[in-house]
Amino acid sequence: MFQLLPNDADSEIIEGILKGGRERKKCENALFEKYLYFIKEGARKHQIEDDEAASVYSDTILNVIDHIAHHRFEGRASLKTYIFQIFSNQCVSLIRKKTTNKAAPAYDTVLLSEIMHVMSDNTQSIIQHIIEKEEETTLLQRLTTIGKKCKELLLLWANGYSDKEILSLLTYSSVDVVKVTRMRCIDKLRKIY
């Protein structure tokens, strides 16, 4: 599946993330810890603060985890190179944001367009317009008011876990029950909105 895997440790991490389940978190942490030294290099190279570089690094790892989980990391470059490239790009974006002094957009547009990438641009902008009627902080606050069971179920779903994987992690009787419960939880949110 992967064209270039530089070492066994990286391929183990990738496999662990793809496998999902309880192993995934361990592998995610292992990935985060593996290239921690990028932070210092990034801070030095881009002349940003260490804590800024650390925050960019965390975002980078979360993006890479997402890419791996959704099979968007194709292994054309080594995982290290892939991470470093994204990390460097994000450091540059941070510098741009700082120099242009633009207020950060309310929503993470990259994350939004990743969710909506299957839509045409026109439809994306219609949906985005509706979403932006509410501020992101208000949205996040509202989401936390939903019940504990719905919250853990939707957290897993939003992060790419399939209903089958969710079944193995939570206490549901079947995949169908997971799906129905998930739909009901989203519907419940409509009432909260």
Partner: protein, 235 residues
């Protein structure tokens, strides 16, 4: 409602045939209620993803604090830093062992040996005795002048004492002149070279330390007067 959400999910999972996809997109632009439901679906996914990310970021922060190597350089760089540190320590230790603080040792030697002169030594002449007494009383300039005049009569002892008096007076140029003259004397035991080295170590001018080291090495090698002291210094 659940049916509608199931349709939306099928769309986002790319499970709808092309025609249904087009109808779906058209409905988003013509049916506000439907578009609201699509937005709800996207918002929910986005929101929980963001919450998860925030939570994971906080956990990563804890990992970072636990490990702290995040803020240290690449392992290879760390090895280099460690290696360079070890080498520096080795060099500094070697230099420290190799080069004791000679100036301090010279100070101590002068303090211990040149504060008083023994009156029994070669003090058969009254003038010589007088000069020694003056030296011991601290009247170094007078003592030096008398030793100086006595040294003109081929008296190496007077020459040595005159040099010591000038050394005590910190008149290093005169002290050096006297010790260099003493060096050239053909004596069974000649401290000239050692005393010249001491004077250079006290003067501490440009190249004095290097020159003094050379002289001390020579004394040690030739086992001339002062060599045992030099050995004690660990040179």
């Amino acid at each position: 409602m659940e049916k509608e959400l199931a349709l939306i999910e099928s769309f986002f999972n790319n499970e709808l045939p092309e025609q249904q996809r087009q109808e779906f997109e058209l409905k988003c632009s013509t049916d506000p209620a439907f578009a609201e439901t699509v937005a709800l679906y996207v918002k929910t996914k986005y929101g929980f993803k963001k919450l998860h990310r925030n939570q994971r970021k906080a956990e990563f922060e804890q990992l970072l604090q636990k490990h702290k190597p995040a803020l240290v350089p690449h392992p290879t760089v760390r090895y280099w830093i460690a290696a360079v540190t070890v080498i520096c320590i080795a060099i500094l230790s070697w230099l420290y062992l190799k080069d004791p603080d000679l100036s301090k040792l010279a100070d101590t030697y002068v303090d211990n040996n040149f504060m008083t002169l023994s009156t029994t030594m070669s003090a058969d002449k009254a003038t010589f005795k007088q000069a020694i007494n003056l030296f011991n009383k601290g009247e170094l300039a007078k003592a030096g002048a008398i030793f100086d005049s006595l040294s003109e009569y081929n008296n190496p002892e007077a020459l040595k004492y005159a040099g010591i008096a000038y050394l005590r007076l910190t008149n290093y140029t005169l002290a050096l002149e006297h010790f260099e003259t003493l060096q050239q004397q053909n004596l069974q035991s000649n401290p000239g070279t050692f005393y010249k080295a001491l004077t250079l170590l006290k003067r501490k001018q440009h190249n004095d330390l290097t020159e003094a080291k050379k002289l001390l090495e020579k004394v040690k090698k030739e086992k001339s007067e002062g060599w045992q002291e030099i050995e004690k210094w660990g040179l």
